[in-house]
């Protein structure tokens, strides 16, 4: 109680409660249960999406996050792909763009790829994903 209070006072952040933990764990596990996507399919989709996005922007592979979430019985694919820099010539190899535009690097906010309304994806091919930034 007192340590919680001190933590809040000095660090300015709320410690996460076990209630928050269980809610976030449940949301993720239910999204996967509901979508019923086999792990290899999920991995293949992840690879393909990364490939497409990497053609246009350079992604920070450390911070990327790829998961299913569900809300009100609708499942969504949430991809958080932190962008390191934008490639100004799409499809060109990354080394070339770095050489031509050395000073034009920009750090963008994390991109969210969201495809709502895909409830029953069990038997269907991977959903279409809007990659607009």
């Amino acid at each position: 109680m007192i340590s919680d209070f001190l933590e809040r006072l000095f660090l300015g952040q709320e410690p996460t409660t076990s209630r928050d933990d269980v809610k976030s764990r449940l949301k993720i596990v239910l999204a996967h249960d509901r979508a019923n996507l086999p792990p290899d399919l999920m991995e293949a989709m992840r690879q393909e999406i990364l490939e497409v996005v990497s053609r246009y922007v350079e992604i920070d592979t450390e911070g990327l996050n790829f998961s299913l979430e569900s809300d009100q019985r609708a499942t969504a694919l949430i991809a958080n792909l932190p962008i390191r820099r934008i490639k100004f010539e799409p499809d060109a190899p990354s080394s070339a763009s770095e050489r031509s535009m050395p000073s034009q690097t920009a750090r963008l906010p994390d991109a969210q790829l969201d495809s709502p309304g895909t409830t029953d994806v069990g038997s269907q091919p991977p959903p279409d994903i809007d990659l607009s930034l």
């Binding site: 076990s18 209630r19 449940l26």
Partner: protein, 265 residues
Amino acid sequence: MGRIIVITSGKGGVGKTTCSANLGMALAKLNHSVALIDADFGLRNLDLLLGLENRVVYTALEVLAGQCRLEQALVKDKRLHDLVLLPAAQNRNKDAVTPEQMKQLAYALTKKYDFVLIDCPAGIEMGFQNAIAAADEALIVTTPEISAVRDADRVVGLLEAHHVKTINLIVNRIRPAMVQANDMMSVQDVQEILAVPLIGMIPDDEQVIVATNRGEPLVLSDNFSLSGMALLNIAQRIEGKDIDFLDLDAPYDTLFSRLKRFFKR
């Protein structure tokens, strides 16, 4: 024609049979005729919770085998005359009956009874398939625990696939003090995650164990209990009445916790 309602949960030990026994009694108390079907073949318990274990003669299996009439197998309750139990066989397993046969039994009972409540076994195998075959409504019982909620979600998906139209949620064994300390999910948390309409919330109550020991469901007891009250309210909501939910937090609410909630908003 009576309504067929299955009481199910996926996970075991969350209070399906307790809810079945109490809701059956509560509906009978509200002057409806009620038939309770124990669909837990091999592990029957509903007779114990109702205190009718000594009066079981025939079971659903003998009816289906043509060894007795349905009427003969029904155990009539002495306390409430409009309540009967169709017991499950204890010496057989879940494969002893088929979904088709369960439908026959349930449909036959709807002709005479306003409510046919089916107590579903845990799991999602044959026993579950049998129990939900005839139902057009379902009550999902869950507790505010990760495993119970996950299993409940799976069951909701299966019920939807079986075209069970009306699905309602009962959140059982809530401990308001733990919810206030943020160490347990609240009823709203569970309801939001499962996205199924809420029909009742029942606090964790030692009286449930006492009632089970005696074979006298809580709703029959003269002593007031919050959980018995919650169960009676659920029965009234099943009837279609608009009853307010109990404020389970009230006994644990201090001025400080109210202020804290106010400032968190």
